[in-house]
Amino acid sequence: MAMRMWASSTANALKLSTAIRPQFSPAFSLSRCFSTVLEGFKYANSHEWVKHEGPVAAVGITDHAQDHLGEVVFVELPDAGSVVSQGKSFGNVESVKATSDVNSPISGEVVEVNSKLSETPGLINSSPYEDGWMIKVKPSNPSELESLMGSKEYTKFCEEEAGH
């Protein structure tokens, strides 16, 4: 894992694109738990992220989550038009014979679902913040974002979990 973090920071310095880096380059912080945590995203304590993109918010799982899951082989997502609620499950991923529920960090209506994940579920592992996005939601209650963690808090949260 240390090698991957080094490769990630070197790649960023050289502006190289590697399989494990998102295609864009926002500022990012290298957490001491060796998973990537991005600025400008909000995080739930169940390891999902949400990013506002205008009237719509994209949702996925974090680098920390995908690493702890193992290789994702199957993803089940809701249909567009379904309603999601903060803290409730909206779908699940399968890895290592484990089906893990994924919870929505915000409430609202699902306006788009990442159909690439049915053919290529591994995008969740290789690009958890970019190509591995899971659903896009029209938030029904934007103030919910305030109850989520920012990148620094989430990084600390991961460290505390790892300390068990």
């Binding site: 899951l69 193992g70 499950s89 399968e94 014979k97 484990a98 089906t99 529920d101 300390g163 068990h164």
Partner: protein, 233 residues
Amino acid sequence: MRVLTRSLEVWRLGVLNYLEALKLQEKLVTDRKSGKITDTLLSLQHPPTYTLGKRQTVHNLLVSESQLKSMGAELHYTQRGGDITYHGPHQAILYPIISLRDIGFGARKYVETLELTMIELASLHGVKAHAGESGETGVWVGERKIGAIGVRISSGITSHGVAFNIDPDLSYFEHIVPCGIADKEVTSLKREVDSDLPAEELIHEQLISCFVRLFGYNNVIWKDNPSLCDQQS
């Protein structure tokens, strides 16, 4: 130095029908999520039962559902991960209903520790088992599968679990492609051990002990044949 108490309540349920076990697990998962109960482990066996995972890989069932019925077996579709498998008498099943967040485990670490639990049990009987290679989660003796895993994790609480073959009727596996892996055999502890096996009850206890140790519990509460009605209060 303060030692953190990690408590586990172990329920020894004997032979329990699949659907009843599922209903019980669902209740326990809800209670565990709300903190009403502590980590719980169900130890049991099923009557002849085939189960499918979330992906519903029915193509790995090689006979019709009506043929299964005439064999005296049930078929169930479940929400767990993993492919098709068989459960039956003389197969030790563990369904842990535990909080992974309490120990900071993700799915991968949880499943690896379940594999280790069965590997340790096998080694108590002189059998060298190992975890599967990537994509082949489970426990193997050489190229033969002795233990299967299929779990569900919801808000960090686990359900479903493992099945370890002590001495089940292995011919039941001929009606499926076990776990979707076509060219590998299924085996049992009975097949892999030269001498007689001790009483099955002892082997179930050993499996529970391996689980307790590997998951770091230091306080075990035994509940034998608990009345399922207790849980309605």
